[in-house]
Amino acid sequence: MNHLLTIDTAMVDWARAQFALTAIYHWLFVPLTLGLAVMMGIMETLYYRTGKEFWKQTAKYWQRLFGINFAMGVATGIILEFEFGTNWSNYSYLVGDVFGAPLAIEGIVAFFMESTFVAVMFFGWNKVSKGFHLASTWLTGLGATISAWWILVANSWMQYPVGQEFNPETMRNEMTSFLQVALSPVAVDKFIHTVLSAWVLGAVFVVGVSSWYLLKKRNIEFATKSLRVGTIFGLVSSVLIMASGHHSAYTVAQTQPMKLAAMEGLYKGGTDQPLTLISAVNPFRQPDYERQDEPPMKIAVPYALSFLATNDIHGLVPGVRDILDGYTKADGTVELSLEQKIERGRCAITALQEYRKAKKGGAPEVILNELRTEIKENMPYFGYGYVRERSQVVPYIPVCFYAFRVMVGGGCLFILLFALSLFFIYKGKITEMRWFHWIALLCIPVAYIVSESGWLVAEFGRQPWTIQDMLPTWVGVSHLGSSAVMTTFFLFLILFTTLLAVEISIMCKQIKKGPEL
């Protein structure tokens, strides 16, 4: 394994940082696009059904904000797609046969729908019929949502690689079942959870902006009606997201137990596990999970983690150390220790080397078949063949731990926000509650933090794998110097930050200007 010593670890870190930067910026814009798309659709449907000019102008107002946000989502999105190739060349080759298909389908099916009908939505008010325009608005949102489906299928495959097999002839993973890839349980959970979270963010945005008008005592009818649509939509979405969140956690426990252990700060697991509400995990350093059993000053809900992870309050939840040392699952199967996995991974690599040599040397089919069998048996641990230390396979726990709590806490806060809003609307007091308007307004940045936290949990928890158990980040990179990637990192940082500042400035001016009613 001497070649591993030649990997430029700084390059790996910069490549990860650049991808994370782009993804974080991209995810600032996408959820609002998905969330506003539904609300614009509802408002324009009200215009279509009632014929009232009020709803037309309301829909146009939110479409204007949608448009400003949409452009940035598109701009950051294109970088993400091509960064798979530019920064992760080995990854692109090794899994392109599986991973490329969802990206291509996203382009063919979703992006064209989105880009075709978004133009009709913006420029077609006086050029197409009311019905065609309404259909275009909904199809824009549908295109964005289908796009989310396919990119999340691709992402989920990185978390839970199914429907594929390694081909020693071509030296890459190849798809064997499209349906397993497209409908994997992780993909279904991730899509539902992610889209619902985007809808919640969109609803918080509408409720917050509407509350600003109420604080300023202007555009009262527009604000109260928008707030009503946002509240109902937000409440339904945030209740549904609780259920999808539970199911996501269950799936993570089954497919990525190390991620769950990191989210929980669970160093030594077992049955009857409590769910940590909060504890003093040092945010700036990896905890000593080899010696500690749990983080200090832990406040927890009894049995809740076992229930979350196994649907059984007495269920077994392995901790970081259990996963490293190996453990016996509830069904009696044994999970290998890290050392055993490393051994199996190295067997896979060695068998592959021997196979390639035997093939070139014209070895008989019997030998080739034996080697193929050995490769196949050990391939699930292929990525571990590149691991040298225990610490390499443990994600950075503080980020996972706190981001998870921000995500769940924020989700609960928004349920409360929408419930209160609905209560005040029902009581006819929504225009008077100035303290509530302030809270609703302040919830807008909170919603973005919560939304980004969800992604931090998902992606930090996957580390160090680009493909779970199969390909560590340091083997997936391109042959580049760290200075090249560092330069582009800072270029994109400056560019995205500048454009974000301009977008916020434009958004604020547009909100201040208000609807044309």
Partner: protein, 381 residues
Amino acid sequence: MTYTFLQHYWCFVVALLAALLVFLMFVQGANSLIFSWGRTEDERRFIVNSTGRKWEFTFTTLVTFGGAFFASYPLFYSTSFGGAYWLWMIILFSFVLQAVSYEFQSKLGNMLGTNTFRCLLVLNGILGPLLLGGAVATFFTGSNFIVERENIIDGVATPIISRWANGSHGLDALLNPWNVIFGLAVVELARTLGILYVMNNVADENLRSRGSVRLVGTSLCFVVFFLAFLAHVLLGEGYAVDPSTGIVYMEPYKYLHNLLDMWPLLVMLVIGVVFVLYGIVRTIASKTYTHGIWPAGFGTVVTVTVLLLLTAWNNTAYYPSTADLQSSLTMQNSSSSEFTLRTMFWVSLLVPFVLAYIVYAWAAIDKKEITLDEINNDHAY
């Protein structure tokens, strides 16, 4: 459907997407002329609002082209994007700038000013076609990379499969004058198409009459650059593949042989060129004819598709390596598995449906020319 058929089919789909992208770069072409063609603020707004209703198509086609290439030829994706890092990064950077420039430029609160974003549109309008053209030209002229699959399991120097053979990471492509010439041909073609598109799309006589004059210059430049490049590739050596061994070797007049061996492509090439010239010449010659974008656009798509197929079909290495001839990528050694290509084939049957609704929506938006009243009183950039 055999594996070979699927490889050829996906090569055709990728070539067609690339050709559509070149056609849709009329957006970039017109944008590169914002300040020189548009003399008044109204005229500049006409140009921006005309292309601004189509930029998403260019963008989406670029993304879909990337996605389709990734899915069908992942080794190209990993080799070219990971290797020619700087070339692709500059291209992407310029497209990011374009995406936001429309929406931001005329909005209240734009603290960078309208002209900043228009300058970015001009930058993208020149750099985008130039660099994409240069990148496409390397399909004929070759690139400086090495592919070694064994590296992943026993590479001593590096475990990475594809790498660029020098430190320029793609910028060396611009040192080859033929790549630059083809890049310039694409810039001038984009400008020609941009002028034709705007002339057909806006109700402004000044822009139309000046557009006709500018068309002479851009189209002449395009024809000169394009014919020079075409003559160079048809009369020079090409990268041939022995189908039985997979060995790549240099063959004199390879691309000319390809045209003659695949005569339907030769017919299509002639038809494509005739349509392009017809659209341009008739627009220049006639004072009333403004629909030149359609024949010229159709011709562009046909011509570019044929050119790209020449680099891959008929036992040709479509992404040749100048550093190590045997590292060159062919349809056979770089495509996805038969299963993936077949699965994607069924998905691609949706394309006619997608094209149908694009045409319908495009026609609905463009059935009336853009007027000054519209850009002053309706949603506009």
